[in-house]
Symmetry: D2
């Protein structure tokens, strides 16, 4: 049985399924990441909390402890782990999606900070993927390189306040070319990351060709520097009571915002193509981080349930009610979800995100709900402290809850997977027709009377 | 069929079950309350939000619009509706628990403000019940009358940070008599309402007789003015990211706090007796307000699902996925929960809270979970806006989530109800023995061969 | 508090809600029924099992012990309790739907026999309702009176094997008039009760006017004596492995079956009208019997969980795992479902089934699922014996499972209730518009800045 | 991407995870099995149903079509696939548990017949494992070889009617040695397979040393020929209405049954050791067959939902209600369960069943419930036909339901897995203590004030 330290965080049986798919480099990087998280990132969490000032200053602060972690991570080669060389030969690291998936679960155990420390934080990850895949050399030089270096941050402005943008064809932000400039007018919100003082660039999705007969060719993506005149950050949106400062989820109005036409990504009307490519691996990253959050909640719950100082009615908390069953179910659900996402990540490695849409979709509507359930059990087991600011549980729940909506709500993914099942009907029917003939032959051969 | 306006908020069939148990006064009061909520309270909600300043000032503010509402409610006789004359002949209003339950659902539709406007807000309600039932004439004069008048507010300091106080025998706050004074040392948190600038009095539960052989006679309740030296409000606790200012959930340290012995309620060692009496009807009020919140969420969801501006993929939102089934289930669950709590409230009217422990317990572990489910469906249907600060849904969810922990977590109530079921075993066994004899006689009489 | 024996079978709190709606006659009948069930019906259950022969003889047997029970019930006035005088002045008994609902729960505790013993068994009940309401005097004389007397039995042949008859407009059985005769050709199945040797009459639903522009006027109901030439009972259908002999669920082919035109019920094209009226109260009866079955399962489970002979690992079964929580949830779900159906029954009393469609629909999709859950928990708690023929649990589960399909599958009722909720949108929107105006006025009056 | 035909029955992504763990022989055997099942077994199903006579003759019949299938399977090398050479070097086939797991899913798609046709049917499989591992040469010669050849069948008599034998220490069947004989007295039931006319040998578990201080050394396993005097097969037990003839679940009384002492397996007091070893892989086989049954139900459901002859209200069935979401969830749950059992099977291959208890336990309490849910959705989607004898769904549900009880009820496995989680507390606490020190150092180094 393997002695890799990952089995302590996952399980020997899940590691056994994938170990032979890990390169020596990936195994070593994984072990290094575990040490870094245990020895550097975890202890930095209370420091980061203390370095975030109260009030409006929170939105103007770069936390020194995180910058320190970033330097350490870069020195250790724990940097941009999400960007697989397989798909991004020029800028990527030699890790597969599966290999990074295992790492992403670990990142998810320690909130946002661990992802930022290793330059693996959304939405930068997806934005770097877009720029690496579709950006012009000039765009890459100006925006991708500083992002890859962790010098600036970015936002993706897609969701709109006044339309149902879970159907992206509804997006209304207007983009038109005037001479050498693109003029943008629109009203976005939940542009995650736009609150960060280092956020320098927005990738903005908008409607450039409203009369195109294909609804999927009306949208384009344009790079808009955060300090362009005409941009107003109206306010920071909340997520179940959290504003997630300094990261933030911004409401942004674009009024006659002008950028040079060179800031167009890929070409007019290519918006859907861009977001399709952007979302696949990102969804898997979110899922793995969710599993990490769930596993962390389970571990926290076990500590509480066995805490001698927390006995009630003369018994340990684990001796009460349905706690043991809750622990068992949580463990089973986590193991199960983990394998599901592993298989989706491997599928992306084999046949690109496009060939793994089923696996990605299943993970997307399954995993956040599972993690919510596990975290909710832990909250309940903690009592008042569970809903408070004194554990990660409440904020973790809020983050996970948002994942059931972000990047396509559950209903959209359920619908797509259900439709894929329906498409199997033709093949099933053909097989059934064949079977019917064989049954008739068998009935005749055995000279029996069919009962139906 | 009745034409009382309540049927628009509940349903003709639930009203039919209870209408004949309503006095003419209660029917009229209920109708008046509906008008007051529609015409005065609802429009005041955005005003109240605007009058709450940002930053630390939020904890020092008395909202003018609420004071205005309180004056209006008092003038209309919509005041202290929770305090039933049946149980509180001296201070109560001529309404039964059932009659108030129907009103409490309506109050629950509009957040905390409607309860405060009618002086029906927790924790004042429970504290007034304690003082009305157990307070000395002096205690009543000094604290009950201003509470009944809505001039001051109060808190109940029971939960402790460092022990599992869901088993109240664990409460550690020390209380001892020294001469004519009581000296209190302890560390409380989640003392709801203690953040309000008008909060003048804490009802503090503590351990006065740690060596008493009965764990249920070790605790006492003492009245502690909020400005007593030795009290430090350490911070305001959060609930899923919300601090609920100006109400608040305070962490409070009591260090050598001294109050006159006259501030003891009912007598030394009577703490359990007091909280038992306090919690029964209060739990029902919470349940009814939860139902109101759920019904409000359902109504909000219906509006969104039918909004022509929110079509996706060419269809109304209600035409997608499982929305119609979600609406139907939500409706069914709300109706069902409502009837359950009606029957519990009626039982309290008939045989006091003590005789209605089963009904109260069932409502306690059933209703908040139901309401959470309904609100969660609405959040999901709203998408990003559902988790934002722009609807009541997210905060409503946070409040409801806390109710699965406050006043005894679900597990405690499930345990108690399950134990009550087990106690039926003796009677069931006696009946079965009787039946066995009758079966044997019947088998003999009919001269057949038994199969088992 | 009431001392009526019903509270032992339901609960004081649910009885308190409805006691004042019971006539003295109903209270007395209810008490009498309880005694009859305890002293006569229950002990007869093993006798009935022993009197049912094995093999094909089961379909030809009238159980003597049930005939004996019928005579006793009739003598006691416990007869046709389902047929409310309110709706059936000529043939009914002076009981409301609510009063009978309480009795139907008790009947449901003892399987099919108790309903048959009191002449309250489906499908005779619904068929008697049809004949009492819509039958001609001649039809009533020939078929209704012997049914009311319990001399013959009947079946309702609606479901068809080869079409999706949950949409009744799909029904294909052809009916045409030739001279003074009606000629019927079709293929039915799951004609419940048609297996009984006393079953003399089928109410057959078929398509008489396939070209009528209204799909709801194409169907008619015709009375077909069971011994009419051209009828072939092909086989008995199973329900999760049970054939429910001698009652049965028959597959029946009608080939050129001819009956006099006088056997048409109500008139050509009135089929939908007839089944609408037939289904309302019947659904409530099914729901109440389901609740009785669930309550019986819970009682049985309590006996098992406290049986000293069934300890495992040194503990009573109730001390293991989630049993106590299961008992508590079961109790809560039963109480809740009971109140829901009470309110539906009362609504039928007040405004007829037509006015109670929402309540009936909610009960229809809620109650059988609830009961299945409770019975399933009991099966699990019993272990191997739970799935065996040695308790009522397995067969009870099978019966209840069928109720999620019979008389309209869950999905149809969810859909209808969801649609009703959507219809509330207009009124909600009107109210919201009114509110918006009031909010604007309040914001202006208070001179604050709205935040949205 | 692999082109192995298995991906049509499972999915490319799950195959990708395990393909490199399959030997060429296993891949070829798997492909051969698929063809055999499609071309021979499936068409034989209606023949087998027709060859089973009605009435008591069912218990005396060996179905010719199955004997024919057995001969063909043996000729093809599709025989005893369950018996892995890794664990059973002498008698086993060169397949790992993982490789067989994939095959067992396919066997599970076609009910009991496919397992019998390939000599992979319970309880023979477990009994062969016992004899291969623990049997004496004489026992192997007499019983194992004919079992391996499919000439005889066997039963495992463990469960007892009158005690809670889910705790196997409760088993009461008495075994004592008298001279060279073992004398057995006891009352078993649910001895699956004992109804088969070819069943020649029972493995009987009983209490041989009731006063042993270790409850786990009191039990022994003895081989009892089915025709030994003193054995009475009292009756066949049902499973939700099914008697599963000719296989059967027998109630058997042993009265002074005598066998030679050579029939003792392994040694006195070794009963627990034997059943522990017997149950591990068997549970995984059951789980994989359950997944096959679920996948079969899903495929069946897709055919029905897209059947143009089954439209209701003008729409395909899949266009109604929650069907698409049901399909998507079913697919996700099946994929997820499959990966879970793969990982458990691989773990058995790596570290024996003993080292895979966690994975086996999780699969045991997770998979049957999942499969029940999927089959139940299909039943509901089929309507009346779903509960009938005309599809496999109802019987499949009954079989699966029993799996939640057989080989240890869910509660036992939940308990064991929960307890294992609790055992992680010590390591988690050690790690937390270490972390606390690092946090304190970091807080000091950064000179910030900790917030908790």
């Amino acid at each position: 049985m393997s002695s890799h330290p990952i089995v302590e965080y996952t399980s020997p049986s899940s590691w056994a399924l994938i170990e032979d798919k890990f390169s020596p480099f990936a195994k070593e990087t994984l072990a290094k990441l575990i040490r870094f998280l245990e020895e550097e990132v975890q202890p930095a969490l209370p420091v980061a909390a203390a370095q975030l000032p109260p009030g409006p200053e929170r939105w103007k602060t770069v936390l020194p402890v995180i910058e320190d972690l970033k330097a350490k991570a870069k020195a250790l080669g724990l940097w941009n782990l999400f960007l697989s060389k397989v798909h991004y030969p020029q800028h990527g690291v030699p890790l597969t999606n599966l290999e990074y998936a295992v790492m992403a679960e670990l990142l998810g155990r320690y909130g946002h900070i661990s992802s930022e420390a290793t330059n693996c934080a959304a939405p930068d990850t997806g934005n770097m993927e877009v720029l690496a895949r579709y950006g012009s050399p000039a765009q890459q030089k100006r925006w991708l390189l500083p992002l890859l270096n962790g010098e600036i941050r970015s936002a993706f402005a897609m969701t709109e306040r006044f339309v149902a943008s879970s159907d992206a064809t509804n997006i209304q932000t207007a983009m038109r070319q005037e001479g050498n400039e693109i003029v943008i007018n629109g009203h976005k919100w939940y542009a995650s990351g736009a609150g960060d003082p280092r956020c320098s660039i927005y990738l903005v999705m908008g409607k450039s060709d409203p009369s195109n007969t294909s609804a999927y060719k009306q949208q384009s993506v344009v790079l808009v520097p955060a300090d362009t005149p005409g941009i107003t950050v109206v306010r920071q949106m909340h997520v179940m009571g959290y504003d997630d400062a300094p990261h933030g989820h911004s409401e942004i109005v674009f009024k006659d915002v002008r950028v040079p036409v060179e800031n167009l990504v890929l070409g007019w009307g290519r918006g859907f193509e861009i977001i399709q490519g952007r979302l696949g691996p990102g969804r898997i990253h979110h899922c793995m981080r969710s599993i990490g959050a769930a596993q962390q909640a389970l571990d926290t719950m076990i500590l509480r349930m066995t805490d001698p100082a927390r006995k009630t009615f003369g018994k340990f908390l684990w001796e009460h009610g349905t706690i043991i069953a809750d622990l068992a179910k949580s463990r089973a659900e986590i193991e199960s979800a983990r394998l599901l996402v592993y298989s989706a990540a491997l599928q992306i490695d084999k046949v690109q995100a496009k060939g793994a849409l089923k696996e990605i979709g299943i993970a997307k509507f399954t995993v956040p709900s599972m993690a919510l359930e596990v975290v909710d059990r832990a909250i309940q087991a903690f009592g008042a402290m569970g809903v408070s600011q004194d554990t990660e549980l409440a904020q973790s729940w809020a983050n996970l809850r948002t994942l059931r909506i972000a990047d396509g709500p559950d209903a959209v993914h359920l619908q797509q997977i259900g439709q894929r099942e329906l498409k199997r009907a033709a093949a099933l029917r053909a097989k059934k027709d064949q079977l019917t003939k064989r049954e008739e032959a068998a009935i005749k051969k055995w000279n029996v009377k069919a009962q139906l």
